[in-house]
């Protein structure tokens, strides 16, 4: 799928608030890791910042002849977004997040990323047959 900006936003909203949320609940409820609401805060910050990053990615995409965004770049963007949020929390702090265990953050983050990536490759296509022709727009 070759995303458009609108498609990036719509897909991000849907997948963060469904698949991302489900994975996060496993962490807030302590099924995986120490538990606590901090994971939910992290997810929502990632989501909000992500909406901004999408504008940048969409801009960078214009330098590519095919105007595509392969999985490898999605991964690179994912690494960058994690790095960024750790820096912001570490240096400035974010409301709602008092303490972040870096190890558990990475486990949570990786699982959320992976679940969203896999869902976007499979489930989105099956539930929304027009999604891939509309650059990620599903509404």
């Amino acid at each position: 799928m070759t995303p458009t900006l609108l498609g990036r936003w719509q897909t991000r909203i849907l997948l963060f608030q469904t698949v991302g949320l489900l994975v996060t609940l496993l962490f807030t409820e302590g099924v995986i890791g120490p538990g606590g609401g901090v994971f939910l805060w992290v997810l929502e910050y990632l989501f909000i910042f992500g909406l901004g990053w999408d504008v940048l990615y969409n801009y960078l995409q214009k330098f590519r002849w095919d105007r595509d965004w392969p999985g490898a770049l999605q991964l690179a963007a994912g690494v960058w977004e994690a790095f960024f949020i750790v820096l912001v929390i570490g240096f400035f702090g974010l409301p709602g997040i008092f303490f972040l265990d870096l190890g558990w953050f990475l486990v949570h983050y990786s699982l959320v990323w992976l679940a969203i990536y896999i869902a976007s490759q499979s489930l989105m296509r099956i539930l929304f047959p027009r999604w891939r022709f509309r650059g990620g727009v599903w509404l």
Binding site: T2, T4, W65, A72, R125, L127, G135
Partner: protein
């Protein structure tokens, strides 16, 4: 060039359609994007103004004049520059055989002065051959003798009673497809998955397997079953969700056989392509096998009807009458409410000088088109060795070079002369991006930039005006080949070892030598002038033609109903691929494939593009409450997908 002779013949291929243009022009000649921005007169002389469609050109880009007897090209301070014989220059002198590039246009100086006027050129529009057709069971050339379609087909609307009155078989149906190739198959696949039953659909065509014609073209152009197509992993004509993609299926298959390395490679390819890995493409044989499975699942054979469609008319009750022949003088009618046209490419383009050669010498063996059966070329070369001239530098040329490379392993006395009209110093530009070029081959994973299928470029084209569309298509289109490591290596190895050579120049003529072998005379750039290329075979790998008027059926339809064509002379369709002027009360006509090229979507002639046009068409039918057709989404889509997995009828 002598003074006083102020005519030149330029020659270029339209980047949007690949058509050859060779106008004879009187100097001075202005080239640019906007007519009004180019001077109408210079020093009292009228200027020949040539408007070229591309956003990469400036409004007034360059000027050709005669200065002290020299043909001089001057760049008019353009944004993207002018390249003369492959070098960026603002001003330069040109001779016959030279070429220059502005935007996506590579323009050759064919001949100047008196010679320019004398040269007669057959236009490329008249130069094509029919594709090999399957054997039809008709014995006599019936079209000339019979009075079919009947006289009532002369009116604008046919009365259904009149069809019955002919005494010929008439069948009435809700949905009909014409063509029965991949475009029809994909449309029917959508209909079936959207709830339409087998009994409501009929598809008329010449071959039962939907991929029969496509497979023949693949085999002719040297893509056997084990070779890979130029197609995305998730362009799956057998699966409207594109999941699981061909890469996943092939990885799973190899994984089960224990070939872990190849399984991982396919997965890595689809993850990293095209930046960090070579683009994955499916094997031809796997695609055909998957279509066989889906055809059986949706009941294709029961919906298929053998027949050559002769004419289509509106009926007086809001439907359409299809008149078709079943061979041996046997005719019938099909009456339908909803009609889908997917007749594919009517003809293969053939370079005019090669076509002339064949007609003059009656030798159809040594000058061949890449899309016709020409295995004898490789067989003879493998036996006796020899020299081949290849014309064209697209994907088919690449595949033929690969085939000749394989032949060289059996017989090293095979040489390749690749004849190109002009050098390719740089690839097309669009916005901030540029296509890459190596050894004068321009690379792109597929025949369009990827975002044409579903990304930003799709949106941009859909929203553009018909004229803007033409310009965008010029910028994104053009002849490209796939960036395959093995192909690049073959070309480099051939160049290093000398058995593969690239020649630039305009062909003057092709003539048989005393042994009856085709000799090509070309005008090389620079002072060398005319040179001669001796060869045993010439292979034309320049392309296919989708013009409406080359198809008798479509030509009749367009003339009868005065249908508008788009700026590229194909059927004008709406964003939902409807031929709006054919609307007949509740009845509707849709089209797909190469016959709609130049409209709202660039990649119409591809598996994924056929799925796109089918989806948009079927969605608009669902909105119009066509019988039993329900829009597919969410849970219903998931349930249909499960049926696909379990191989149950939809």
């Amino acid at each position: 060039m002598r003074s006083g002779t102020s005519q030149i013949r330029l020659s270029w291929q339209e980047p949007a359609t690949g058509e050859l243009r060779e106008p004879l022009l009187t100097l001075p000649v202005a080239l640019g994007r906007v007519l009004d921005q180019m001077p109408a007169q210079l020093q009292g002389q009228p200027v020949s103004r040539i408007v070229l469609d591309s956003g990469q050109l400036s409004r007034f880009h360059a000027l050709l004049t005669l200065e002290q007897g020299n043909l001089t090209l001057t760049d008019q301070n353009s944004t993207n520059g002018t390249w003369i014989n492959g070098v960026r220059q603002t001003r330069g002198i040109l001779n016959s055989g030279d070429s220059f590039q502005i935007g996506p246009y590579r323009i050759g100086i064919v001949a100047a002065g008196a010679r320019a006027a004398a040269r007669t050129v057959r236009s490329s529009e008249e130069s094509f051959i029919q594709l090999d057709e399957p054997n039809e069971p008709e014995q006599a050339p019936e079209r000339a003798t019979s009075n079919f379609p009947p006289a009532c087909f002369r009116s604008q609307q046919v009365r259904v009673q009149d069809l019955y009155a002919t005494g010929l078989p008439v069948e009435e149906i809700d949905y009909a497809g014409v063509g029965a190739g991949l475009g029809s198959f994909i449309w029917v696949d959508y209909l079936r998955n959207f709830g339409v039953s087998r009994q409501q659909i009929k598809v008329v065509g010449l071959e039962l397997e939907p991929y029969a014609k496509y497979q023949r073209l693949c085999l002719n152009s040297q893509i056997p079953a084990h070779e890979r197509l130029r197609s995305n992993s998730d362009s799956c004509p057998d699966n409207l969700w594109g999941w699981p993609s061909y890469a996943l299926r092939e990885a799973w298959h190899d994984f089960q056989k224990g070939s872990m390395a190849s399984a991982w490679r396919y997965l890595w390819q689809v993850f990293a392509e095209p930046t960090l890995a070579e683009t994955y493409t499916p094997r031809a044989g796997n695609v055909f096998a998957s279509i066989d499975r889906e055809a059986a699942r949706i009941g294709w054979e029961q919906m298929y009807q053998y027949g050559r469609v002769q004419a289509i008319r509106k009926t007086n009750d809001g439907r359409y009458a299809i008149a078709y022949s079943r061979g041996r003088g046997d005719h019938a009618f099909l009456v339908t409410r909803y009609l889908h046209l997917a007749t594919g490419y009517p003809v293969v383009k053939f370079l005019p000088d090669l076509q002339e050669y064949r007609e003059r010498t009656n030798n159809f063996k040594s000058v061949v088109n890449a899309y016709e059966a020409h295995d004898h070329v490789y067989q003879q070369l493998e036996r006796q060795g020899g020299t081949v001239v290849i014309r064209g530098r697209g994907i088919v040329a690449s595949r033929i070079i690969q085939r000749l490379y394989e032949a060289r392993r059996r017989n090293p006395n095979i040489a390749l002369l690749h004849l190109m009209r002009s050098p390719k110093p740089q690839g097309n530009k669009f916005g901030t991006a540029q296509r890459t070029v190596e050894n004068h081959f321009e690379f792109q994973p597929f025949n369009w930039p990827k975002a044409c299928w579903g990304g930003e470029l799709r949106v941009q084209l859909e929203q553009a005006s018909p004229e803007q569309r033409r310009s965008l298509i010029s910028d994104w289109g053009g002849t490209t080949t796939a960036d395959r490591g093995d192909w690049k290596q073959i070309v480099q190895e051939g160049l290093n070892q000398g058995w593969y050579q690239i020649n630039f120049g305009e062909v003057i003529r092709v003539e048989p030598d005393p042994q009856g072998r085709p000799t090509t005379y070309i005008r090389e750039k620079g002072p060398k002038g005319e040179i001669k290329l001796d060869a045993d075979f010439i292979i034309d790998a320049t392309g296919l033609d989708g013009k409406v008027k080359s198809s008798p059926l479509l030509n009749d339809l367009v003339t009868h109903y005065n249908l508008p064509l788009n700026p590229l002379d194909r059927l004008a369709v709406t964003n939902h691929f409807e031929v709006a002027e054919m609307r007949n009360d509740r009845g509707r006509v849709y089209a797909a494939g190469a016959i709609t090229f130049g409209g709202p979507y660039a990649a119409v002639d591809s598996f994924l593009g056929l799925q796109y046009s089918a989806l948009w068409a079927v969605d608009s039918l669902a909105a119009a409450r066509a019988p039993r057709l329900k829009s597919l989404k969410g849970w219903a889509s998931y349930k249909q997908w499960l049926k696909w997995v379990r191989n149950q009828a939809p």
